[in-house]
Symmetry: C2
Subunit: 288 residues, 2 copies
């Protein structure tokens, strides 16, 4: 496996790969890889001739008071994991090459960034879109893989590709959870033992909300109330940013639930902000 | 020459061209072609195996009170001219395919759009960048050609390519002028006979400003004053948006002229807004 640090080199690598008629599957990450990331690499490996993974803790997607400086790192461990999954190359650029002096370009996805995390992290998605677009242009993959834990990110990237006529298939992959239900996240490392135990409430509460809908609750506010009460039962819960029931395509709030929805949540346990979500399909097979 | 209206078809055309190892030179236009556009096509033809020209009057780069609805059109005449120059394809997309329902993506170049036309047409450049980026992604050219009459546009596009890691060479081409010095523009068609005569003052004034600098005037304000006075001598002059002396790379205003500058002007003759500019090189060979 090639470990590539420079933009020019990885562009050469991907150009040579495409010249051989081989399809590149791309998995962008911020490193500190867990099973969620590895599931993306496996999916990319299944569907493409060559897999490229990037590791870059992208400064532009962190707000001023967020955790950019303490974001966990384990480059050596990450490279080993990526190689074990059979990727062909890992791209680990330097921030100074990604954002050289004079850099001044941003990409705004106007509608899909208005709700959910867009409310609480107002500059986050423009940081995500710029880095992903740059990486897409550098790697020129045929397919790219994103975890559904960052569901809004997946929809934003999908829309960006559509609107910019990028010939890249965006493939969302299922959330990977710990045995007790907590969605895997590099940020789980920040949690104290007690916070870690309490944080399992997020998935329990989402499941309770989903069940309520499947048992024909149609009032979104009632479902949200139930989820919030469940989460608030935990002592180390610090703050709920949002519990929202949204249209899974437009990410706009739904009040009366008539078709498929996404229930999404962001909450702090201690100082650590966690997000999670669950998809709810409304169909004839719903519970009695 | 192929006349292509659909995005899918032109993507196929350009993919096939690239698969044959041929380089595409791309000339994006809003149609109603004049010698300035044709000079871009000729340059593209010289430097590339295949030339693609696009014609699209891009709604997103017009302000609400601007001339989108009356922008001149001559599709048949344009196609003839493009074919005569030896282009391989002309792409004439429909606005509904370029901006389908739900379209919501914009690209902002933050610094280079702050001065000059960016002040007076605050949404213009985000319309330019989005359409050019979309066309670049659709056509995937090796090189693209822009006239220096829209000097700020050229710098904005150049910066966008750099910041987004697009592997496209942006080639600026000299302003093409009428015999009396007026910079060629599709908008010259709007001018009455008297306005048309008066409009020649723009280039005369720019030349006078350039001469003053070459004769060692170093105070930008003094040069600007001279240019403004010259332009204001004309009866059909309606309004000057700006006369600015700027660093040609950053497009920021210069007060003391010590190195190369660009003098740029935007002014209305009657209801028609015209722009023009002139580059001034500062070196040892300047006039005595």
């Amino acid at each position: 496996m090639e470990v590539i640090k420079s933009i020019t080199e990885v562009m050469e690598f991907s150009q040579e790969t495409r010249d051989k008629g081989k399809a590149i599957g791309f998995v962008p990450t911020m490193g500190y890889l867990h099973e969620g990331h590895l599931s993306l690499i496996r999916k990319a490996k299944e569907e493409n001739d060559v897999v490229v993974v990037s590791i870059f803790v992208n400064p532009t997607q962190f707000g001023t008071n967020e955790d950019f400086n303490k974001y966990p790192k384990d480059e050596k461990g990450d490279i080993e994991k990526i190689e074990k999954e059979g990727a062909s190359a890992v791209f680990i650029p330097d921030a100074s090459e990604i954002y050289p002096e004079g850099f001044q370009t941003y990409v705004e996805i106007e509608e899909l960034t208005k709700n959910l995390c867009g409310i609480f992290r107002p500059t986050h998605f423009s940081g995500v879109t710029i880095i992903v677009l740059k990486l897409f242009n550098i790697i020129s993959p045929k397919r790219a893989y994103f975890g559904k834990k960052d569901y809004q990110q997946f929809r934003v990237i999908e829309q960006m590709c559509k609107d910019l006529n990028l010939d890249i298939k965006i493939t969302p992959c299922p959330i990977v959870r710990e045995k007790d239900g907590l969605a895997m996240s590099s940020r789980n490392k920040y949690l104290t033992e007690e916070e870690r135990r309490d944080a399992t409430i997020l998935y329990q509460a989402l499941t309770k909300g989903k069940d309520a809908i499947l048992y024909h609750e149609r009032d979104a506010e009632a479902v949200i109330k139930k989820i919030k009460e469940t989460i608030m039962s935990k002592k180390t819960l610090n703050k709920i940013d949002y519990v929202s029931i949204v249209n899974p395509y437009t990410l706009t709030n739904v009040s009366h639930i008539e078709s498929d929805v996404l229930i999404a949540v962001a909450a702090y346990f201690g100082k650590t902000r966690l997000i999670d979500n669950i998809e709810v399909e409304i169909n004839a097979n719903n519970y009695a």
